[in-house]
């Protein structure tokens, strides 16, 4: 059974000029221990999907319709207190900026121990021992001394390790990592990604890795979902999506990325920009920028259908015909 199921999720923002749909009919699932990448450009709805899953949508944002199920149990309509017990215990979260996810007034040990004692039946000294162990597991040298240090005494990469330790504190089944390495330098990024991957494999935790960096997705994930304008454009095994993309948007996105292995005079470019929420085109949201657009694309919205080894929301694949 899937660990997490997201079914036809709609997230709306009511405004004076009408309701804006920021996520429109998003469906996917994550198996236990699986790493699912969610990729897309700014404003595609990746972070919002993560926020909806951990129940941290900022008002006036709300789940309009659809369901989110964790281990078969609905979590999108839970009261605040119940959701709070799940958050941290069953779902851990890692955010982009490690400095803002840690409280600067408390030592990292105090923050870790607080999380551990909230969710696990341990006393203070057991919790402290566990906190030290977590810091060691995340590769922090001299954990016994470092536990009493404050966040500002850690470097960016070390802080992100502390945040990972916090997310893992109560042995959650699922970790939602929203751009965990975007604020870090490449050499540190490699360390953090390797750590995240091995530590989650060891503990059997599934990860939903939200990022705009295709390179990070390529080396880390089992499957990847490509989002565009609040919808899933393509989802499938990472190798197939990168090397044989079925959706024209995925193909364009891949070609935009400067490649280390070949020289090109000009990069491929997708003209135009992602539509604003109040002006999402009719039919397929990508059709005004698409090079393979047909009459149908501007009228009817395509559903996710099987296209090779992946699933794509594109009329090119709807009839099972030529790509």
């Amino acid at each position: 059974m899937s660990l997490l199921q997201v079914k036809n999720l709609v997230v709306e923002f009511p405004s004076r000029k009408g309701t804006l749909r920021a996520l429109d009919d998003v469906s996917f699932d994550i198996a236990p221990g699986e790493i699912l990448g969610v990729v897309g450009e700014s404003g595609a709805g990746k972070s919002l999907t993560g926020a909806a899953i951990i129940g941290l949508l900022e008002p006036p944002g709300r789940v309009g319709s659809g369901e989110i199920l964790l281990e078969g149990q609905r979590i999108d309509n839970l009261p605040y207190a119940q959701m709070r017990a799940i958050r941290g215990r069953k779902i851990g979260a890692i955010f982009q900026d490690p400095l803002t996810s840690l409280n600067p007034l408390y030592s990292v040990g105090r923050q870790l121990i607080e999380t551990i004692t909230t969710h696990l039946p341990l006393n203070a000294s057991q919790a402290r021992a566990r906190a030290i162990e977590l810091l060691k597991d995340t590769g922090i040298p001299a954990a016994e001394q470092r536990i009493d240090h404050y966040p500002h005494q850690f470097s960016g990469g070390m802080r992100q390790r502390v945040v990972i330790a916090l997310a893992l504190a109560a042995e959650p089944k699922l970790i939602v990592a929203d751009e965990p390495t975007t604020a870090l330098d490449v050499s540190i990024q490699a360390q953090i990604i390797t750590l995240l991957k091995t530590i989650c494999k060891e503990r059997g935790a599934a990860v939903m890795l939200i990022t705009h960096d295709m390179g990070v997705i390529a080396e880390t994930c089992d499957r990847v979902a490509v989002m565009y304008a609040g919808r899933v454009a393509e989802i499938g095994p990472v190798h197939d999506v990168i090397n044989r993309p079925s959706h024209p948007y995925t193909a364009g996105l891949m070609a935009c990325i400067p490649d280390m292995s070949q020289d090109r005079e000009n990069l491929h470019q997708i003209d135009g920009a992602m539509p604003r929420l109040n002006a999402i085109p009719r039919g397929c949201a990508f059709n005004p920028r698409c090079t393979k657009t047909m009459d149908k694309c501007g009228q009817q919205r395509p559903n996710l259908v099987k296209a090779g080894n992946t699933q794509a929301a594109c009329w090119l694949h709807e009839t099972g015909g030529a790509a």
Binding site: V186, A190, Q191, I257, P258, M260
Partner: protein, 334 residues
């Protein structure tokens, strides 16, 4: 003055030290010494006319400081830079300097912070034209602004709009149009695409390359993204903790990196098409520039370091087609 064979830009032993000491009273009471941060410490390079030099490195390695030194936003502590044969920093102080500033322009990283939100795009782009007294007639200015907007793929009518009406990529194009207003020869671009999405980044990079071909522009391109650097540059300089460690032409650097730090940076890039392959993560972090390691700044993280590396600072030395500052390369150990 101008000479076809001599490089347009020549930086010689450029250095910038910032005083980051505590206030005087604290220093006296707490007996703290003065603290000096060597942001850039002896960087030399040439850029030929019409070419692009890219500087790469991790945060805090001094690449943006080099950019700001070259446009005259900072005064160098030591060394200097020659633009088209004349000492630029001496010239910036004189009346002649205004003519020089016209020829050197800059594009900043954050397109949201570098455009005045209260000005129309037309006013923003016309500012350098007015400031440098290139055009004074309103009609002529409007026409020139229209041309500039079209050259970066926007419409002439956009000059009536305000920055908030544009997306990040469009704003960065406005920044480029503003930088081009004075018809500069040398453009310093400090992470011009770091704040942009990949599809928009591709649009901006393509425009920059087209403009270079059309106007024969010379670029200093600062970036931390090696794939972008590989795409835009002719020459690449790798910086670590305020100094250049390797300088070579693009193909040499990417095909046969010599310095261990360059190799580490190249290793650290996630490979798109080998899915699932783990990177060899490098241990350690960039040291604190206030208290840099002795000898070679990279030695605490370097797999090839020996006793000499921790005591003696390596100099940039010429090898065939490459300049590298590394004892191990010099001794033929790697």
């Amino acid at each position: 003055m101008s000479n076809a064979t001599q490089p347009l830009v020549r930086a010689t032993d450029l250095a910038k030290t910032f005083d980051v000491s505590a206030p005087w009273l604290n220093r006296v009471i707490e007996r703290k010494p003065k603290m000096l941060l060597k942001a850039v410490n002896g960087v030399s390079f040439d850029i030929e006319r019409g070419k692009t030099l890219a500087l790469v490195g991790e945060s805090g390695c001094g690449k943006s400081t080099v950019a700001r030194l070259l446009v005259g936003l900072y005064e160098p502590t030591r060394g200097g830079f020659q633009f088209d044969g004349q000492d630029a920093h001496a010239a910036f102080k004189t009346a002649e300097g205004r003519k020089l500033r016209r020829r050197v322009q800059m594009v900043f990283q954050d397109p949201y912070a570098s455009l005045n939100p209260r000005w129309t795009v037309g006013d923003i782009i016309a500012e350098p034209l007015r400031e440098h007294e290139i055009l004074s007639d309103t009609g002529a200015i409007d026409q020139r602004v229209g041309e500039l907007l079209q050259s970066v793929g926007l419409s002439a009518q956009d000059r009536l709009k305000f920055p908030h009406q544009f997306s990040g990529g469009q704003r960065q194009r406005i920044s480029i149009a503003r930088a081009l207003a004075t018809q500069p020869e040398f453009l310093v671009c400090d992470e011009p695409t770091s704040a942009l999405d990949v599809s928009v980044q591709a649009q901006v990079l393509n425009i920059m390359k087209d403009l270079q071909r059309k106007h024969g522009l010379t670029y200093l391109f600062i970036s931390h993204n090696l794939a972008v650097v590989r795409h835009v540059s002719d020459q690449v300089g790798v910086m670590y903790l305020g100094g250049l460690v390797e300088l070579a032409d693009k193909h040499t650097l990417f095909d046969t990196p010599r310095h261990p730090y360059t190799r580490m940076l190249l290793e650290a890039i996630p490979k798109m098409h080998d899915t699932g392959k783990a990177r060899t993560a490098v241990a350690g972090e960039v040291p604190n520039p206030l208290n840099p390691p002795t000898g070679c700044a990279f030695h605490p993280r370097c797999p090839h370091a020996n006793a000499r590396c921790s005591s003696e600072k390596p100099e940039m030395k010429n090898y065939t087609g490459v300049r590298v500052a590394c004892h191990a390369v010099e001794e033929g150990r790697i």
